[in-house]
C-alpha cells in the first residue's frame, strides 16, 4: 500500500524530518540521521566562519539526505525573506522552512510577520513550510497564502513538553488541505507517536534527538514512534468511552453455587 508523503510534488517515504540543531558534533549527527532514517534535514544559515572545520552539507550528502534550509533566528519578515533568498542561492533549492520568531524566551512565532513573509516568499516562487502555532486560524491563513504544508508546534522549541494542545492540533488536521507536520516540542517517542495518531502527516524533531542522553538510540525510538503512530492511525482506534464495554461475552457464564444457576 502506498503510504508516500507528498509535499509540493516531492515524494518522501520517511515521515520523520530531522532538525540538525543541537548535535555535539557532525559524527553524532550522521549516526543519528541514519538511525532516524530521515530523508530530509534542516540546516540554518549563519555568518561564515573561516575557522570552522568541515561542512555540514558534506555530512548530509554523505548520509544521503536532502537539505531543507530554514530562517532560524529571524524576527522580522524582511530578515526571513532575505535569509530565504540567501538559502535559495546557497543550496539551489526553492524549499524553505520559514521561522519568524516573536519572543526570544518562548521562541513562539510572530504571526503577523510570519504571514507577511509567507505571502512574499510564495509570490517569489518558494515552497514554504512555515513553523506556526497551534492556532487553527493562523494555520488556515498560511495554507490560504499558498504554503506547501503547515508546521504547528506541540510546545516551544526545545522544551520537550510534547503536544500541549492536542485538540487544536486535531482541528488543524481536520481542516488542512496541505500536509500537517508537527514541528517543535517533541520530547520523546510517545510524543511523536501521538502526533501521528492524531493525524499529522510527519514530525520534525531536533532537540529531542540531538540533546537526548543517547541521540542515536532516541533517533531510532522516535522513528519507531512515528511509524507506530502512523500504523495506529490507519488501523482505526476504538473510541474513548466513560464506561466499560466488556470484551468478554456475558452469556455462558458457569454457576458455582445453587443461588447462581445460570438462565
Amino acid at each position: 500500500m502506498d503510504d508516500t508523503l507528498r509535499i509540493a510534488g516531492r515524494e518522501l517515504s520517511s515521515r520523520l524530518i530531522l532538525g540538525t540543531g543541537g548535535f555535539a558534533n557532525h559524527e553524532l549527527l550522521a549516526r543519528a540521521c541514519r538511525a532516524a532514517e530521515a530523508e530530509l534535514c534542516t540546516v540554518a544559515l549563519r555568518r561564515l566562519d573561516p575557522a570552522a572545520r568541515g561542512s555540514i552539507l558534506d555530512v548530509l550528502e554523505e548520509v544521503g539526505v536532502q537539505v531543507l534550509p530554514n530562517t532560524a533566528g529571524c524576527y522580522t519578515a524582511r530578515d526571513a525573506v532575505t535569509t530565504a533568498r540567501l538559502a535559495r542561492e546557497a543550496f539551489a533549492t526553492d524549499w524553505i522552512k520559514l521561522e519568524v520568531i516573536g519572543d526570544d524566551r518562548t521562541l513562539l512565532p510572530d504571526a503577523v510577520e510570519l504571514v507577511a513573509a509567507a505571502e512574499e516568499l510564495v509570490d517569489d516562487g518558494f515552497v514554504v513550510l512555515p513553523y506556526t502555532t497551534d492556532d487553527p486560524v493562523l494555520a488556515r491563513r498560511l495554507q490560504d497564502a499558498g504554503c506547501a504544508a503547515v508546521m504547528p508546534l506541540g510546545s516551544p522549541i526545545g522544551s520537550g513538553m510534547g503536544i500541549c494542545n492536542p485538540y487544536n492540533l486535531s482541528i488543524i488536521i481536520e481542516h488542512a488541505e496541505v500536509p500537517v507536520i508537527l514541528d517543535a516540542g517533541v520530547g520523546t517517542a510517545s510524543d511523536a507517536a501521538l502526533a501521528m495518531e492524531l493525524g499529522c502527516d510527519a514530525v520534525l524533531c531536533a532537540s529531542a534527538i540531538s540533546r537526548a542522553h543517547d541521540a542515536v538510540a532516541m533517533a531510532r525510538a522516535i522513528r519507531l514512534g512515528v511509524q507506530a503512530g502512523r500504523l495506529a492511525r490507519g488501523a482505526g482506534r476504538i473510541p474513548r468511552r466513560r464506561y466499560a464495554q466488556a470484551s468478554t461475552p456475558e452469556t455462558g457464564m458457569p454457576a458455582f453455587d445453587a443461588q447462581g444457576v445460570s438462565q
Binding site: A44, R46, R47, A90
Partner: protein, 68 residues
C-alpha cells in the same frame, strides 16, 4: 574604503568586489553552500566578480550550520 564584512570593519582597496571579500574569508573557489548579501540584497554567485563594493557597504557572507 571601509566595508563591514560579517559585522567586522575592514579596510579594502577601492573597487574591491564581492568575490575578493569571499576570498578574504578563505572560501575555496566553487565551495558549496555559501551565499552573500550586500546591503540586504542577495548577490548571486555569478555576479560576485563583477559586483563592486562602496564605502560603507554592509556585506554578509553566510553558510550552512546545524540548526532548526
Amino acid at each position: 574604503m571601509n566595508v563591514t564584512v560579517n559585522g567586522e570593519s575592514r579596510d579594502l582597496p577601492a573597487g574591491a568586489t564581492v568575490a575578493s571579500v569571499v576570498e578574504l574569508l578563505e572560501v575555496a573557489p566553487g565551495a558549496r553552500g555559501v551565499a552573500v548579501a550586500v546591503d540586504g540584497e542577495v548577490v548571486s554567485r555569478t555576479r560576485w566578480p563583477e559586483t563592486e563594493l562602496r564605502d560603507g557597504s554592509l556585506v554578509e557572507v553566510v553558510s550552512a550550520i546545524g540548526g532548526g
